[in-house]
Amino acid sequence: MHTNDHVSSPARKFARVCEILEQHERKPSRLIPILQAVQEEYRYLPEEVLTYVATSLQVPPSKVFGVATFYSHFALEPKGKFVVRLCDGTACHVKGSLPILDAVRDRLGLEPGKTTTQDMFFTVETVACLGACGLAPVLVVNEEIHGQVAPQSAKKIVEDILAQEASR
């Protein structure tokens, strides 16, 4: 479960990191799977966790930081509760993925350069290709895939989430 409990409780936070490190036998070669598991837990890679991982693996923090910044899957900033990923692979691109991105960003009132809404509800990003090209253009909210999306239906998807959250 993704909750904010870990972030608010440092002791518990590092307990979980230790578990992850143990699972991978504190091997430096397992750095990428370790970071993946950490990110799964926190939805991003907090800086203090990165240094903790480096110390535990006995590698320089620069190495851990270097790996964390190299791969696009790793986020150094917290992400929203709902991560909206718009596929901008070739097939989606030629079928008009960019107007969809504009529509979603516009609906959420995201300022240029920002990817996460102020209330930490939504993060909007593009990905290179999700491999669901047969359904282009594709939009993914967390793990749920929506195919053959148009600007209007993309807005509707976002609005449905907002409505659902408001009624909770």
């Binding site: 190495k63 791969y71 692979g89 070739t90 290709c129 669901a132 047969g134 359904l135 195919g147």
Partner: protein
């Protein structure tokens, strides 16, 4: 059993008993996104209602003798028509199935009839096609790699075993020597399906000859090319075939450890591969004593972390070792010194699956299809502006015309309707590839012919583009991609791609002059020359290839400050034709910035100062009165 005759029987005479039937729901990413799980649930509910016992898994020995069997399959390739439901043994394929359609299908199964309205129809003759054996999309293909993907349950190892699964691995481990395996591969002429087209047998043989006990086999499933999803479909649809390929390769070079490096963007593929490894371990196929030979063989599934360059062999090795995925110079080749300094071979998913078939059926059988220098079949992901999008497999040497117009069903225009005049180009090989145009329609697709046309097979993404696609924008799209994905090691790749992108932006935004295109071409050749790995070497291809085939389009941007397709916003000058406009107000409502003014039933006008050139008005207008965008 002959499905043709069965189908005729069922439509005329006594229905086959329910118990002989099997329903297969496609559970590839595409169909799942379209609601395949809901359809599956509806089947469970409806069968219960009809009092039919439903088996959700095949028995190890085959189909259960009582009740109806319902299983899922991997991607059947016809993604656009999903969710797909197949009823066996008649091979009736229902398309676009919704949960509400399920009661009717269950009723048809009980009564031995067919729900005609859910069948695939010919768009021109309106004739119904019953299943894969009739639909032109399938009948024009020759499926080997994808053969089992469409019907076996990917999470059921027994089903794979029943379809001759692990037979090749058994043969390789118990009956053949590593030398014989490499010889067979060399004789088959199999070339790597990941893009380069390097002879697989030579790679294996080189690794085999290296001294030492510790060797590795890696399956490259880091399918990063945007617009390609062949490997994903194979892993999701038939994960055991990938493991079997690894086992054959491991035996051929004498490796005891294998690894599958999968893109993290493919969660379902990761999950199914992991399940398949577990099941193979439980059966004793993998583990400390593979096939009872006393020799160990392991298989690990590792997720990538989103870096395109990791598809390059040496970069992948660095990534597996826990570092940044940056390539290293070759030689030494990985086959000599790879993962942890040990001899390592890295093969694409599709290459490994082909190797399984070669060992099972022999090199001669493999060579029956394809061309002399590019034998066998190749899977392509057919996407973009084409009627039938999806996954296809055809022999090398098949023409582009056959693929796009016959299997793909033709090109679609901007309204999504088939239009014989809409064809403009096909982008093949993703960010490393190039464009093919109408002049290439009769070009046989294989490694060498494509290279001479300035394109490449790449991993096999085929993106069809219609007349409304701006080729400069497409070139920019790929340059933007490679520029972001450049690992930064080689200066010409890191800085050169950046400058090429800036030059393309100049073209698209109207700042270019006569010098721009010359510079773009020069720089392109320099980047190709001055880069270490395939990413940089091929990064300029999309630009150079569009410059070669669509120079006029570039020149229109540069000299006339005009985008012939109207796609480049900065050059757009939208206006409303007062002759055509009837003042219906649709564009006015659609405009997000209120740039359109006009009374009802009077021709509207666009305020250029406010217009953001989004094109919403042109989309909204039913009369085609909005021009220039």
């Amino acid at each position: 059993m002959n499905p043709e005759s069965t189908r005729n029987q069922t439509s005329k005479a006594a229905p086959a008993p329910v118990t002989a039937r099997r329903v297969i729901i496609c559970a590839g990413t595409g169909c799942v996104a379209n609601g395949a799980w809901k359809v599956m649930k509806a089947f469970e509910e409806q069968s219960a209602k009809a009092g039919i016992t439903l088996h959700l898994q095949m028995k190890p020995e085959g189909q259960a003798p009582d009740g109806l069997t319902l299983t899922k399959s991997g991607c059947q390739g016809f993604c656009q028509k999903g969710p797909l439901v197949t009823v066996m043994p008649e091979d009736t394929l229902y398309t676009h199935v919704k949960p509400d359609d399920v009661p009717e299908i269950v009723k048809a199964i009980v009564e031995g009839t067919v729900v005609e309205r859910l069948l695939c129809t010919d768009p021109t003759t309106k004739a119904h096609f019953s299943g894969q054996k009739e639909i032109p999309f399938y009948t024009r293909q020759q499926r080997f790699v994808l053969k089992e993907c469409g019907f076996i349950d990917p999470e059921d190892i027994h089903e794979y075993l029943r379809h001759d699964g692990y037979k090749a691995a058994r043969k390789a481990w118990l009956e053949m020597t590593p030398e014989q395996l490499c010889e067979e591969l060399l004789a088959s002429g199999l070339r790597g399906r990941g893009g380069g087209g390097f002879p697989t047998g030579r790679k294996w043989d080189l690794a085999r000859k290296q001294p030492g006990d510790k060797k590795y086999v890696i399956c490259n499933a880091d399918e990063g090319d945007p617009g390609a999803f062949m490997n994903r479909s194979v892993m999701e649809g038939n994960p055991h075939s990938v493991i079997e390929g690894l086992m054959v390769a491991a035996r051929a070079i004498g490796a005891d450890a294998t690894l599958v490096y999968v893109r993290t963007e493919y969660p379902l593929a990761v999950q199914r591969m992991r399940k398949a490894v577990e099941d193979a371990e439980k059966m004793g196929l993998l583990g400390p004593d593979a096939f009872g030979t006393g020799r160990p063989l392991t298989c690990e599934v590792m997720e990538g972390a989103g870096a395109f360059v990791c598809g390059e062999e040496t970069a992948m090795i660095n990534s597996i070792q826990g570092g940044r995925g940056m390539p290293s110079p070759k030689p030494p080749f990985p086959a000599q010194r790879g993962l942890w300094g040990k001899p390592t071979i890295i093969n694409n998913v599709e290459t490994l699956v082909h190797a399984v078939r070669i060992i099972k059926e022999g090199a001669a059988s493999f060579r029956k299809l394809g061309s002399e220098k590019s034998p066998g079949t190749k899977t392509f992901a057919l996407t973009g502006h084409v009627v039938n999008t999806g996954l296809i497999e055809v022999p090398f040497g098949t023409t582009l015309r056959e693929v796009v117009l016959n299997i793909g069903g033709g090109v679609t225009n901007e309204q999504g309707k088939p239009d014989p005049k809409a064809f403009k180009a096909v982008q093949i090989g993703g960010p490393s590839g190039g464009c093919l145009t109408t002049e290439h329609l009769d070009l046989p697709l294989d490694f060498d012919s494509l290279r001479s046309a300035g394109a490449m097979v790449g991993s096999g993404g085929l993106v069809v583009m219609n007349q409304k696609t701006c080729m400069v924008s497409i070139a920019r799209f790929f340059m933007d991609f490679t520029q972001r994905e450049s690992c930064g090691k080689c200066v010409l790749c890191r800085e050169g791609t950046r400058q090429m992108l800036a030059l393309l932006d100049d073209v698209i935004e109207g700042r270019a002059d006569a010098n721009t295109l010359v510079l773009l071409e020069k720089l392109g050749h320099a980047v190709a020359k001055g880069s270490l790995c395939g990413l940089g070497k091929t990064a300029p291809n999309p630009v150079l290839s569009t410059l070669r085939h669509f120079r006029g389009e570039y020149e229109a941007h540069v000299f006339d400050k005009r985008c012939p397709t109207g796609q480049c916003k900065a050059l757009a000058k939208p206006s409303i034709d007062p002759e055509k406009c009837r003042g219906c107000g649709l564009c006015l409502k659609a405009c997000p910035v209120g740039a359109i003014k006009g009374e009802r039933k009077v021709a509207h006008v666009i305020d250029e100062a406010l217009c953001i050139k989004c094109g919403a008005c042109a989309t909204a207008c039913k009369l085609g009165a909005v021009q220039g965008i």
